[in-house]
Subunit: 207 residues, 2 copies
């Protein structure tokens, strides 16, 4: 199977790039779909899973599991472990089923032995702010200072999650095949050249 | 002018990529040519300039200039400053003269206001070792341990040189438009997709 993983800074356009690549290449696209699958398999609420996986609920919980089982948060800890294990299982199942693009979830680490094309998408802060405002829901009223804080916070959580399952640091270029700075670029057009890069990479990879 | 700068880890194939891009795009190629130009302009020996610029002779010299003028190495210091100033001058002259590809010399920093396409080329150590042996002159007899040491040393000097003129760290993805991991890739084929990326980038850049 041909697998593309996309890791991305919040606001860099990585998700849009993933969707567009999936369209151009005819690959399956996975992002939130993974949460839905976990919810179904584990009979859990999607929002709860999302909170555990994405909204920083890792914060405050010890990163090593299985030490204490006496307090009430042990249940959450256990749930978190279960969710993470389930997520890895689902991602590995997807990887043997079809050509796909997986956004986030440290899929580059989880699918290492499948030798995926690992993209990292980033941009300068100014560019990320512009993109965030452009795509923000109308009801979202957030000032620039708060937005910068949010961007940094989300990325910090992504880095932390990556640390949980990997020895390599999130965002360090060594962990990726191609790192794309989207500052000043239109994702719509960018997607076509990256699709060409992917075609080359899967065909020309001598490994 | 359309300018592509290439920064690269030693052994990653960055120089070959630069030459091939120049061929495909019809751009002028600058690498050692800059040293020749400095030598002509400053009436200095090419090997001497190369030693100052590339072979680690920065090591041991204070990075801030103009403090002492009493010792014998002050002459070398002065020469180094002159050479660096001359190099910057030449690089800036090239940038307004023709579409070009400049390898190394922190041209990405020097030409910042020209908004060049800044590439960083890297690879894992195993891949760099293979490439180095493949292109080594027959007389060069170097064992793997020595080669790894050399690769690290050259990159360290490049990083140091970059530090001299820039606030951004050499190799940090934030300083580049695209970071390309060449592990397992053939530069000959890679050059064509990167040339396409360059065409897109110069056409599609909204800045």
């Amino acid at each position: 199977m041909k697998i593309i993983t996309i890791s991305r800074e919040f606001g860099s356009g990585g998700r849009e790039l993933g969707k567009r690549l999936a369209d151009i290449l005819g690959y399956a696209y996975y992002d939130r779909e993974i949460i839905t699958a976990i919810a179904e398999n584990k009979k859990l609420n999607e929002n709860y899973i999302e909170k555990i996986l994405e909204k920083g609920s890792l914060k405050g919980y010890p990163l090593k599991f299985g030490r204490t089982f006496s307090s009430s948060y042990s249940i959450t800890q256990q749930n978190m472990t279960q969710i993470l294990v389930e997520q890895q299982k689902i991602i590995k199942e997807i990887a043997v089923r079809e050509n796909c693009i997986i956004v986030g979830r440290s899929a580059n680490v989880i699918l290492k032995e499948h030798n995926p094309l690992n993209l990292f998408v980033y941009a300068d802060m100014e560019s990320k702010i512009i993109r965030c405002y452009k795509y923000a829901a109308e009801k979202e009223n957030i000032n620039e200072k708060e937005l910068i804080k949010k961007i940094k916070q989300v990325d910090k959580e992504r880095a932390l999650f990556n640390e949980l399952i990997s020895n390599t640091k999130w965002g360090n270029k060594e962990g990726y095949s191609l790192c794309i700075n989207t500052t000043g670029l239109e994702i719509k057009e960018l997607a076509f050249v990256i699709a060409d890069y992917a075609k080359y990479w899967f065909g020309g990879n001598i490994k």
